[in-house]
Every structure is written in structure tokens, then in C-alpha cells.
């Protein structure tokens, strides 16, 4: 299997084409914008976080490459219903995954389907694309309205 197939797997192409939880979230109580100045990728992540710290609803909108959009889409699926602390822990794990510092097969983690991005560290130019939605999420959770990957 060529490395191209590792990066652009069917799951990623499919999420790019049919992003889940795409669009503005009405009734959300947190939002943040993520911007990748280098490539112009631009996302907005919306959250509805309950008083006891559960991500009740999550959505995103914006434009970006397939890696960026698929990562955002899969993030929303993975985090819907999750506790805020779990989301934050997953952000940490996902960042280490993108850097090639976490081997999802040997180290314990909660990444589940997000493991699909494990090959990305071989494409340094694309790591930021996969990370953008998560930076926006983190901004929304910490009440930082805009985050930039630069």
C-alpha cells in the first residue's frame, strides 16, 4: 500500500465529502475560530457545554483541505457527549499522535477512530491541517475566541 493511501484513506475522503455536524450550532454557548495563515484554512467550532461539563452538542463550519475538514468532522463525532476533561486529554493525545510521539497501537489512549491520522507526522506540512479543528476546540473551551496555528 502506498503512503498516499495511508494519508488519504477512504474514511478521510468520505468525511471530507460528507462532513458530520457541519454548520452553525444554534443554542451553543462556546465558540472559537481557528485560522491557519499559511494555507488559509479557516474553521469555526461551536459547543454546547452543560453546567456539569459535558459537551452536549458540537459542530463546525468553514473551509479547508480534506485533511482539515475530515479531522474536524471526526473530532465532532468523537467528542459529542464527552466530558470536557476527556476532550482536553484527547487533544493532548491527538497532538502527540500528529507529531509521531504516540504510537496508538502500543500506548494506551482514547483516540479510537482518530488513530487514522497516525501517518501524518511524515507530512510535516500537513500536520497543522489535521490539528486546526482541535486548536479551535481548545480555544472554545478556554474562552479564547480566535486561535492561529502560526
Amino acid at each position: 500500500m502506498s503512503s498516499q493511501m495511508e494519508l488519504y484513506q477512504q474514511v478521510i475522503l468520505e468525511h471530507n465529502k460528507r462532513p458530520r455536524n457541519f454548520g452553525k450550532l444554534e443554542g451553543g454557548n462556546r465558540a472559537a475560530e481557528g485560522f491557519n495563515p499559511l494555507c488559509g484554512d479557516h474553521l469555526r467550532v461551536y459547543l454546547e457545554v452543560t453546567a456539569d461539563g459535558i459537551i452536549q452538542q458540537i459542530a463546525f463550519e468553514g473551509s479547508g483541505c480534506a485533511i482539515c475538514k475530515a479531522s474536524a468532522s471526526m473530532m465532532t463525532v468523537a467528542l459529542k457527549g464527552a466530558k470536557v476533561e476527556v476532550a482536553q486529554a484527547m487533544f493532548g493525545e491527538f497532538q502527540r499522535l500528529l507529531k509521531g510521539e504516540l504510537n496508538p497501537e502500543s500506548a494506551p489512549n482514547q483516540l479510537g477512530k482518530l488513530k487514522i491520522f497516525s501517518g501524518i507526522w511524515q507530512y510535516p506540512a500537513r500536520v497543522k491541517c489535521a490539528a486546526l479543528a482541535w486548536h479551535a476546540l481548545s480555544g472554545a473551551l478556554s474562552n479564547q475566541p480566535t486561535v492561529s496555528t502560526e
Partner: protein, 407 residues
Amino acid sequence: MSPPLDIQAVRRDFPVLDQMARGKPLIYMDSAATTLKPTSVVEAVTEHYRMGAANVHRGVHFLSEEATRKFDASREKVRAFLNAKEAAEVIFTSGTTGAINLVAHSFGSRLKPGDEIIISEMEHHSNIVPWQLLCERQGTILRVAPINDAGELLLPELEQLINARTRLVSIVAVSNALGTINPIEQIIAMAHSRDIPVLLDCAQAVAHKALDVQVLGVDFLAFSAHKLFGPTGVGVLYGRRALLDTMPPFLSGGDMIRSVSFAKTTYADLPAKFEAGTPHIAGVIGLGAAIDYVNALGLERIATAEAELLHYGTSCLRQIKGLQQVGTAAQKTSILGFTLDDIHPHDIGTLLDQEGIAIRAGHHCTQPLMQRFGLPATARASLAFYNTKAEIDALVVAIEKTQRLFA
């Protein structure tokens, strides 16, 4: 007429082409970002470090004199290449960006609040941001000449921007994102009829088009060696002596003074006045070798080969359904900008890279231009004379493969 370039022979001058990328033969289509370097340039640079390495203009010893001789010879080569009146009008800088910053700081320091500078919508950030910072420092005003959908400068609109407060017209000669060749002769005539000096950003033009500063009558001209088959980190500001003489130094320190005392320091003559500090000696020597190389091939033969590639590439891309070309000016260099329906340029770039094809995807340091076209980014295949039609065929196959993957 000299015979056309023997491309296969020319390709042997670029050993970098003879390698695999991602397991495929490398196809380099990113010459607008930086051109490849022929062996003669690489050798001139390494030779300086291996056997020369001395500083210039300071030593009394053999090595320093050798280095100085080669350094000065490069300046003369640039002078002849641009047909400048005197070598002292050739200032070595760190590149196009360094050259434009020099003008923005030095020439710019004399400008008054309300004075105006004209640029165009298709400028590289390096011909936008130095002027914006000048505007912040001095209260000058930046005026932007618009372009049409093909990516051509609208000359009447440019002319209308010229007024009694205009102090400089600073325009890209060839657009790095679109390939558009601007009518620099007309722009200069237009500005000069009102006694306004013109700066040309020739970063892209220099490798594709003969530039004669005396025939053009241009006041400032900037380019980078690395887009002319030379080393990175070195470039040129050509300036007309009459202007340079009246301009204050930009960077200051060693090499740019006549005498220093705490009471009064006097500056050196041109070009030293604008070359503070130890220069990129190996780079300058490499630039000289690059000019020798280009002269040996002949800019006209280079332009002919590239025009053929452009023609072939344009018609090949036109056949691809779902592909839009960005930059369709009537006068163009061999830069092919494009987008594909529903596929982000970055995905195109990564997928072509899997086929060993190096292109650039992004905003090409021309964000206002991208905004003008309503695009976040484009894919750009930029060709040089060492590219072949077979490589363009491979590009087409790889683009179609990308489209199938995303279908």
C-alpha cells in the same frame, strides 16, 4: 537565430533532477519558488568555501585579494547582465525582499505624510508590507492598481491613481502567482511623464526576460539570485546613481563608511554605502556563475523553450474537466496556476508529491491577489527550461488520478 536548447543536455547540468522523490522520478515544477542550481553554480560556491573563504575589501593577503577579485567580478557581471551604466549602481542585498526594504527605508525616509506610493493588486507580500510599514512610520498612503479576471493590470486605472502626491510606482514585472508579464515599458513611460520614479520587482522576471535598465530607464530594480539559478540569501538592488547618491544609508556598520569618529562619520561611496557588514561572498560569487550560465544558454533561447512549455502545458490543462486555470493573461511566463473542483490545493499538492511531482499549493505570498479571485489558495506548477513535455504529460496523469481519488 541560434539553435534551440538541447533540453536533454541541459538537464545534465542539474544533477538534482536525477533522483527519485517518493519512489518516483523527481519532476520539479516549483521554479517560481526557487530555481534549481546548475553544477557550475554549486561548484563556484563550494570552491569559495573550500579554497577561498576569505573576507573581501579588508585583507592585504592573497586569499582576501582573490575573494575580492571574484566578488567585484560578480558585480561587473550583474552590471553587464542588466546593462547598468556603472557597477556602482549594483547593490548586493539579501534578496528581492532585502532590496525593496532598502528602498522603503532609505528612499522612503524622505517621504512626507500624504505622499503616495502605487503598487498593484498582484504584488508579492514583499512589495506590499514594506510600504505598509512605511505608511505607518511616515503617514504615506498606499494606492493599489486593480487587475482584470485574466490577471492583467488595468493600465488606465493605474494611470488614474497617479497624481501630484505620487512619489513612487512599485510594480511586479512578472507575477509569481499568475505568470502575468506586466507592460513595464508603458508603466515606466506613464510614471516618468510625471517625473515619478519606478521600482520593478523582477524576482520572477529575471530568469525569463532580458532586462536592460538603460533601455527601460527604470529607477530601481530588485531580484533574487535564487530565482536565477543562483544561491539563496543574495540578491540585487539596481538603482540609478542620481537617486542612490541622494539617499541616506539603510543598514549601518562596517564597510559602509569612509571615516568614523564620535564627532562625525562620513559614508562611503556607492555601492559600499548600502552594503554594511560582511556580505554573502560565496553567494555573490555563485550569482556571478549563474549569470555566466544563463548567458551561455542565452535568455532568448530560454524564453523560446519556456514559451513552448507554457503553450503545451496550457492546452493540456485546458483538456482537464473540472480544472480552472488561474492567470490567463495574454502575456505570460511559464507559470500554470490552477484549482480543481471540490479539491483543496493542499490536497492536490500532497497527492502530486506522491507522484514525485513538486508543485506549490497555497497563497504564494499574494494573499490580496487570492482575495481578488475569491480563492483561499491555488495550485501552481511553475516551469523552467529544464522541464519537458513528458513531465507535463505526467502532471496531467497525476491530476486526473487525484480527481479520481476524490470523485
